[in-house]
Symmetry: C2
Subunit: 117 residues, 2 copies
Amino acid sequence: MSGHLDEDIARVAWNDAGLAPVIVQQHDTGEVLMLAWMDAEALRRTLTGARAVYWSRSRGEYWRKGDTSGHTQQVVAASVDCDGDTILLQVDQHGAACHTGTRTCFDGRALTVRGGD
Amino acid sequence: MSGHLDEDIARVAWNDAGLAPVIVQQHDTGEVLMLAWMDAEALRRTLTGARAVYWSRSRGEYWRKGDTSGHTQQVVAASVDCDGDTILLQVDQHGAACHTGTRTCFDGRALTVRGGD
């Protein structure tokens, strides 16, 4: 199991800061909840624990989603993209994903699409 | 219209390289197709044209999705997240989103979720 976990973590192409962006999606509805960041240790904790763990770039610390807010994310599935530099995490979000209290971090924040040729 | 467009673009908190990550989602099924990057000009072209335009970090050029592959992305909706540093773009994807030929860039690239406490 341990070797396999290391292989999974080694599939991620971490950026110069040792991080990768994580797209967090509600597993059943498909809602995009938020974008967060992980390093290798955050991914290890996420794949081996029941809940999503991120790296906070602003606070410089690990952050298990919901420890403060109670709005936990149960991990359902994870994958990497074709060039390995992005993680997609499918979760079951309890309550609001956004610290502002909205369900997703994108709610009510639309840009106007004007269309064209 | 022009002033409004500038206001929309000014809502994005571009990173030190002048870029923001863009989560690209199929508008009706909720599939996460890919992650790409935009600068202000790519966002301007995307919000005023009919098709998604990104900034290619590897090639250092604008890239209107589908010009080479034919696998275009019609822009349906766009939004920013709570701190403005991520864009969510909802599109109608024609054909494969991934250059490898899979529908999304995450297809068949699962990491093993082990669960735990």
